[in-house]
Symmetry: C2
């Protein structure tokens, strides 16, 4: 029996899916599902290609109640920039959760991942940052550095952004462009400690293997979202940050202890840290309290989940179903 | 920088890839690569969807020296037949091993897997079965039962096939059709022991969880290929078969001990079995001896490897590259 499959390019997708309240709510609902229903989310399939200075991650998740489930392929080929290509590419496939038939292939070069990752940052900020965030700090100058700032603007009254990057010259360029594009003050900073001291919300977006924030940066009322670490050798926050935080959250504890900021605490069996770690979905669904007042220090580690991929791919196909966009292949 | 991606349907593929000596040699080379180069082949990502009576497996492998690497998604939705759909579907994606960019999406509904799995059976028969196989036995009546017989015909002078299936009526239908299609004698058999006694080569192609062959069936000069088991609860051969075999092979020891016929021996740490298990690639490359004479009893367990997927997908794209078949999408 033949069926139709939609082939959607990144250009097509950009018409239908943006970083807006609809995608943020979609990802919020995904966090809630992860907390309330029996999601099946196998460990990430990760393959290293040593000859090519590359890695490929494959994620998937089945969420009861959704029509489909996504399988996402994320290649990172780190020599690509020397060829004029982006390091990150990939595609997402959406299959029917009833028949397993392929519904759509999103040749998105990682666009849906960019959006759902930024949307997850917005959800973390919405539920955990203090109400009044006038200054936000961004560590990193990549795609997510930009998107996480835009995400924060959707959920908090941010007036000013401070940005630190490893390359000072690049950071200046980045802040100039961001300020022009977004119409808010954006300043480059060379001192991370000073940056944090001026912010109510800090988002770390780097692939660093050595922590770039330690406890002496922290001050009452600060929320930190760490979204850079997603591999077994990456780590943005010093253990002292996790120790000092009043509340500690992550998207999925089982992933954070393997690939995220909880990994070192897990390896060292630090119960003072592990004992207070909760999942963000439990705050969204009211199962756990979130920030209780404007003085608490909160930290949220986002490693990225297959549930988010399934949610954003489902939203994308729903929005395109009645449209003629893309190529339809019958198989 | 935009690039082109080929979208290929099963119908397109069937024009270019068949179960012939070219695909058999392609899979033979894949076995050799697995034996001689540092293939990166992560464990299979497997997800069970309990609500849907379904499972999804994802395989991949990077083979140094090949231009691309495949990622294969194999959904098995076992209630599909009641909807008039095949249980097995899926697709394969071929990415550049240099840049990670998607080269081709094969919407093949499992066709490439069917071909590479049958081709692997032909390779096992070519290297391990006695030279003179006049009668072959097939256990099972599914797609692979048919294809494994066709595969054997390519490499051995088979005159007659005997088929056992759980459903006697279905088996009769199956043998009639096979005989008409292939122009050789094909007979249904109800007694597995009798079937094996008349054969020089037996291929088991069932999804059984309880062994269907035990040592009392074996006779000198027999080769058995067991290709049905590919999950942690499946098993076609009794331990006594593995004990009694003079030579014992598999495609990948680390997979066979987890998903294949070596699993029980591995769980029970049966050194008499594990100690003699070798990989088929080592026979092909001459690193290990294969069958020494016409009297040995040989057994080969095939679980299916990501290397085979990468090899067949690479062959498919190579054969189609200069053709206008399929849909080209620019992204």
């Amino acid at each position: 029996m033949s069926h139709e499959i939609k082939i959607i390019t990144e250009t097509d997708l950009r018409q239908f899916i943006q970083l807006d309240m609809e995608s943020i709510d979609c990802i919020k609902d995904a966090f809630a599902k992860l907390s309330t229903v029996d999601v099946v989310m196998p460990p990430i399939l990760s393959m290293t290609l040593p000859d090519a200075n590359a890695e490929v991650d494959i994620k998937t998740a089945y969420v009861p109640g959704l029509d489909g489930f996504a399988i996402k392929v994320s290649p990172g080929f780190f020599d690509n920039p020397s060829l004029g290509l982006s390091s990150l590419n990939g595609l997402m496939v959406l299959l029917s959760a009833t028949t397993g038939l392929v519904q759509a292939v999103f040749l998105d070069n990682g666009y849906l991942t960019d959006i759902r990752t930024a949307a997850a940052g917005a959800v973390a900020a919405r539920y955990l940052a203090p109400e009044n965030v006038s200054t936000i700090g961004i560590l990193g100058t990549g795609v997510q550095a930009r998107l996480q700032l835009i995400a924060a603007l959707k959920v908090r009254p941010v007036k000013r952004a401070l940005v630190w990057g490893r390359d000072a010259g690049k950071t200046v360029q980045f802040t100039k462009k961001l300020s022009a594009d977004l119409g808010i003050e954006v300043h480059p900073m060379q001192d991370r400690q000073q940056l944090v001291s001026e912010c109510q919300l800090v988002v770390t977006t780097t692939p660093t293997k050595d922590a770039i924030l330690s406890a002496d940066c922290l001050h009452p009322g600060l929320h930190i979202t760490a979204m850079g670490s997603d591999q077994e050798d990456k780590n943005e926050l010093d253990l002292s940050v996790l120790e000092k935080a009043d509340l500690l959250f992550c998207d999925r504890i089982s992933q954070s202890t393997k690939l995220g900021e909880l990994r070192t605490a897990h390896d060292q069996d630090l119960k003072s840290i592990l004992g207070k770690a909760c999942e963000l979905g439990d705050v969204i669904t009211g199962r756990m309290p979130g920030r209780a007042n404007e003085n608490e220090i909160t930290v949220c580690d986002l490693t990225g989940t297959g549930v988010q991929d399934t949610a954003i791919a489902t939203l994308a196909l729903d929005k395109m179903r009645e449209s003629s966009v893309g190529t339809t292949v019958t198989t």
